[in-house]
Symmetry: C3
Subunit: 260 residues, 3 copies
């Protein structure tokens, strides 16, 4: 039985997550549900893109993901079924899933959801996660064919995540995620950063380079390659975000002395 994961910006206290689960289970009471997160920043498509890029590659083939960060709910924006890496993603057409695509990936198989036979009979103007995406996911677990959900499309919203500027002398990137520990996760890939590189964030130098948090004493400000294989700035057993007073968007500079 296929597994359905749920990722939203609904928060944990509202009834919206519950309503979506109920609508899905109404279609298939035996569906297996798994929460990924319901605390994505409200209506933040870029944050959703980073979340999906860091989370979905770890899931096995056959997983169905319902992703609802949907500032355009009820407008003309489409809803999509995306076949990616043998997994299925049901998502508003806001581009958040396109961060999963690598430059040399084949063109993904994308269907625009139009077949209302798989939707709730009464579709509200404000909650397509409950009224369309959840029931479609339920039908997929029952064996509905993606091709029956609507027409194949070849155009969709693409988002471009901020990419670091790389030269021989330096890399200019930025903080793209502040994780719950206060670690500053950047958009600078590990491959671009040598161990001799000098890192600074928002103009403040990061004095130490380590392999993992515990390699320096508690309280030390360190740079390392984090769990997403990107450069990260951390305070050992503390919060770099709080210490440095910086957040998402802060500039990160990596000087490459060995290249000079």
């Amino acid at each position: 039985m296929s597994l359905v994961t749920l990722t939203t910006d609904f928060g944990d206290g509202s009834s919206y997550v519950a309503a979506m689960k109920g609508a899905l289970l109404t279609v298939n009471p035996a569906a297996r549900l798994l929460d990924l997160s319901h605390r994505l920043p409200p209506q933040d498509v870029i944050a959703a893109a980073y979340f999906l890029a860091d989370a979905l590659p770890w899931f096995p083939p056959g997983t169905i993901h319902v992703v609802v960060v949907d500032p355009g709910v009820g407008t003309g924006r489409a809803l999509l079924y995306v076949r990616w890496n043998c997994q299925s993603i049901l998502v508003p057409d806001n581009g958040c899933w396109t961060a999963l695509l690598r430059p040399d990936d084949p063109t993904p198989h994308v269907v625009r959801l139009e077949n209302a036979r798989y939707w709730r009979p009464d579709v509200s103007a404000t909650f397509h996660g409950r009224d369309i995406l959840a029931p479609v996911a339920g039908h997929l677990t029952l064996g509905a064919a993606p091709a029956d959900l609507g027409p194949l499309v070849t155009d969709w919203v693409r988002i471009s995540l901020p990419r670091p500027r790389v030269s021989d002398e330096e890399i200019c990137g930025e903080v793209v995620i502040v994780d719950p520990f206060g670690n500053l996760v950047t958009n600078i890939p590990a491959a671009d950063v040598t161990t001799a590189a000098l890192v600074s964030v928002a103009g403040q130098p990061v004095p130490r380079r380590v392999r993992t948090y515990g390699d320096a004493e508690p309280g030390a400000l360190v740079a390392l390659i984090g769990s997403s294989d990107r450069l990260e700035i951390a305070v050992v057993n503390g919060s770099a975000a709080a210490r440095l007073g910086v957040g998402v968007g802060a500039p990160v500079n990596v000087a490459r002395p060995e290249r000079q």
Copy 2:
């Protein structure tokens, strides 16, 4: 295998949710558990009532719901099994579930939990969710008959949610939920609100009426019919609660010029 949902005010950080899950699984290790929310406002029976009214109607027949918002734990208040709409609810007798009843619904089948054979042997004075409701839910998934849980009762605590006052000229309601987006959900049903109606909240006029959030520009203050089919005040891609500085209980006025 029946599904058991869990809804509490325990918070996500405490061991209470875990203990309740363990106590249920100790009775039936194969039980399927599903979190609805553990972040209901502490001991707020009215908030629980709104949550259940907005969440439970979406679930399929056969679902078992364990709901623990229980300021009276350990006192003489009863614990109930409620049969509602082919679903089962295990809940302290504080009335939160009675908001589910419609005026013309048949009298629900309600049992007072008295048969300690289905409880943990040692019942604490402070945690009946773990010691009584969770094991009873486990036994229900194993096929225990509701009639065996205790005597049928015909009296229970009823709560009355605040209802709007409706006249030919205006509707006087209030904000009853602030959702995680900062949307102000009112107690005014969609059916009472024409599109020409003039909406104000806490004396502040809401200039625009829209069908869905994305129908106005970001930052616009709008009124619309929300996901629970009630009037809602929102800021597009923002927080109406923060913008207007109002919360639960704020008065909402709907003037009906076309009736004058």
Copy 3:
């Protein structure tokens, strides 16, 4: 099919929980997962110890628990498989699980995870929960033998939780948990506290002793035996932590007049 519970300090908003779930399901797509909490205080091994001591005893035999509070990730600290009370715990060797042991328990069966055949092929330096513990849990659900995970060990990190000092005249303990209701849970066992005892916290007397919260009027400051069978200080329908302005570590004194 064995159940796997997940307990971490990752927070609910990050992709780390999702990545760990995906890594586990990649090994066994049919594994049953259950969240206990992802909001343990960051890198707080003592808080994790109290959480496990209050949560794990409620689970049935055969449960597999993955517990990741891991300030030492990537350093030389070991990762352990622990057999406790017919349950399995996968955990960094930081001692948090040792609070589960009672003085007269038999020596637990502990294996150091060394067999990389059960790990992800690429193990990062910063996320062993995803790269080692989750896949090992997946393999356990598929029937892997604990003895095959690595060598038996007889030495591991032990933590000693603060114990109250008990004399004939008084007990000097402390607040060890502030629960989401603001209740102050102490380390003083119920057995040590008679009903005539006089309780004070941080020098402030607690005027009433009750059996359960609802036994006093809303707003009353009360002492009672809480859900973990330890002394607790609470404000009825309110927050003792906020009222008294105290938190974890605050001294709690129990005078025993009847012994004098």
